[in-house]
Subunit: 121 residues, 2 copies
């Protein structure tokens, strides 16, 4: 059955739990699964992550790819051996096996949607 | 290699072509593939669709599921046999084989991100 998570404002959604996001050096980072196993979605997942000012995500490199859409804040994103500054509305594609890391810059939390395959390991 | 599509504002992104979106009764609807085959993404695609005021998408029912995130405007969404009103920030999951249709309401275009599996038929 189709599912709607109404937006409450302030990056909260009805029916979506706020979970801790354990990553790198980012105390207080959070994770919200907007579409995933609880919605019976098997082919992909859509998550919202938030990392506080000063936070840095883990230096990651794995087989599954990421589709990222920045909703708030700014970051320097490491993609392989280059760094790109991103902010509101920017789209980032991180292919399989590319080293990546998000470094929050500025005073606002970094908030982004991250899409992954439902078949990731 | 990682790819960044910088947001230009006004729902346009660098390196993303605007294509016609042929659907239902919606003259002037558009489609932008933010992450897809051109980005070498094989596991999922992230697209941005826009339907002008008064437009109605095709009445669809198919095997692949959709993850939708509303960026602008308002719509009544048909999900199976119920209708839900959605707007900015709302998240909609449309499972496989659920009949669905978007009916734009109000004066603003409806703009939404739509995630699909890369393996859809």
């Amino acid at each position: 059955m189709g599912i709607v998570h109404k937006y409450r404002g302030n990056f909260e959604w009805d029916g979506v739990a706020v979970k801790e996001y354990v990553t790198g050096e980012a105390v207080g980072a959070t994770r919200r699964v907007l579409i995933g196993a609880e919605e019976s979605a098997q082919n992909f997942a859509v998550r919202y992550f938030e990392i506080p000012p000063g936070g840095v995500s883990a230096l990651d490199n794995h087989a599954h790819d990421h589709g990222v859409f920045i909703l708030r804040g700014r970051a320097r994103v490491l993609l392989g051996n280059r760094e790109v500054e991103v902010g509101h509305g920017d789209v980032v594609y991180i292919p399989p096996h590319e080293t990546h890391q998000f470094r929050v810059i500025g005073d606002e939390p970094l908030g982004f949607i991250c899409v992954v395959s439902g078949k990731r390991e």
